[in-house]
Amino acid sequence: MGWAKYHEDNISRYWRDAKTKVRMERMTEAPPFKKPSSNNDLGKIRLLRRRLAENPSDLQAQQAFHAEKARLEKLGVSPNELLGIIHGDAPSTPATASDNDIAQGRKKVLKDFTIATARPLPVIVLADVSGSMSANGKIDALNDAIQSMIESFATEDHSRAEIHVAVIVFGKGDARLHQSLLPATEINWERVGAAGNTPMGAAFDLVVKMVEDHEQIPSRAYRPTVVLVSDGQPTDEWREPLRRLLASDRASKASRFALGIGDDADPAMLAEFLADPSARVYSAHEARQIKNFFRWVTMSVTQRTRSMNPNSVVVIDPTALDDYDF
């Protein structure tokens, strides 16, 4: 047995065609003598036993099991050893964990070692909840838009990733984590009120801390999306925290969206947050435009999760929205 046993694998096929020295070496080397071991012989019947334990009506497994049993009997495998496996009786050899599993009809399966959840795609919203957001129904529109976005993510059927959402709010004197990072399906959105100033720098620090934390966002996660929504100038030191965000290993790789609300928003600062000349800062002057922005973000994220590579940035044209008027 050499390459032929892996004939469907690409490299093997390549080398077989190339008739290289590899194959020659394998052919000229005397195959190592292998004493038939009971362990080797019993491997297949153990697997079949496991398949039958999981699905007793599997006819193919039943036939294979009986054929294997007959073959082993012919080879002279100890009847006690064989019976121990077939009937789950105490084996003649000293018991091991796997033998006990067999006896209980439960063997280790790959499912026991793998992560049972899809790879996460984190979406982190940085929401301005300063006092000025309470004017003209902006905070209500923001709450509705975030709730609607979370509901859309939770009901997304074609996603190739599990969308997780976190919301960091800044206002009322400090930035805080209003909604911790959880799968959208597990979130029950609690509405947030507006008060205080605009400590955006503290929010940048929080997002860096979250994205750099491998416990919260493991390395198997897809690249996160960070959405910044603000209606005014930051009231704390924000340049250094933003520099830290843009210089950090992981947070700098996030796809970023920015929305300025009203005339007091600072588009230049929001453009610095995007740090991409081709990216656009969107502005909203009415409450419904906030909802439109979040619809656009939702579409962009869901398109990413539906794509074959959810790490790729999918740019959705906002004009694709029916009532687009940013």
Partner: protein, 246 residues
């Protein structure tokens, strides 16, 4: 352990592996961009796993050539008198450049993981990029790879980008199994169950007859239990017979 015992131990090293396309490539009718190679020769027994970077147009070619370049490097290294692990990995990238010609290195970028059970009893394990290179030594699992400290899924170092190899040389008779896996596998293995996963490979899969083993492993990879998984999946294993580890 005498040198004769080392040679005898080395001659009993077995290898196996399997590779399957992930759902993403199957849906697009694209071929598997993971490749693996297993070969025994005068140098000992070698397994290589390479994962072509999905965003590159000749990723499959790059991965295949990574396996071939590694084999050529091992042969040349063995012929020149078995230097250090550094010497071995330094030979791989120039040979890979030769192999991928006339295509551009950036179009062919691929990771490279290798495990070599050398004739003299030592085991060399090296890794460039994502995936898992793990060995069990005296019952403890050791991973030979750089932690993906800064990246996310599908972001990795590769051949052609001057990456930093993680490498280890294990002295005689320390290792009883070495496992290489592409990131499609390693990212979905629970870190707290890695030892059990390696036990499973050693006790449940390695003990099967070669063809059954290959079919069994392919079936497991094709029926990968993690929901909504996408990547190609490859596992290659070097295994020493039970009772021959000391």
């Amino acid at each position: 352990m005498t040198s004769n015992e080392c040679m005898a131990r080395c001659s009993h090293v077995d290898y196996f592996g399997a590779s399957v396309s992930g759902p993403a490539h199957r849906a697009l009718r694209k071929p598997n961009e993971d490749q693996w190679l297993g070969v025994s020769g005068t140098f000992g027994t070698l397994i290589v796993v390479s994962d072509g970077l999905g965003s590159r147009c000749r990723a499959r070619h790059g991965a295949r050539k990574a396996c071939i370049a590694t084999l050529r490097a091992v042969r040349a290294w063995h012929k020149d008198g078995n230097g250090s692990c550094d010497d071995l990995v330094d030979r791989i990238e120039p040979l890979w450049f030769e192999e991928i010609a006339p295509f551009d290195r950036s179009d062919c970028a691929a990771t490279c993981l290798l495990a070599l059970a050398h004739r003299d009893g030592r085991t060399f394990v090296a890794a460039l990029g994502d995936g898992m290179a793990a060995v069990r030594t005296h019952g403890a699992i050791e991973r030979v790879e750089h932690l993906r400290a800064s990246g996310f899924s599908n972001e990795t170092q590769s051949l052609g980008n001057g990456g930093d190899w993680a490498k280890r040389c294990f002295e005689r008779a320390e290792v009883d199994i070495a496992v290489l896996a592409s990131d499609g596998v390693s990212d979905d293995i629970r870190p707290d169950r890695l030892a059990d996963f390696i036990d499973w490979l050693k006790e449940e899969v390695a003990t099967l007859r070669p063809m059954n083993r290959w079919h069994s492993l392919r079936r497991e990879l094709n029926e990968w239990p993690t929901p909504r998984h996408l990547d190609d999946k490859t596992i290659a294993v070097l295994t020493w017979p039970i009772g021959r580890t000391s």
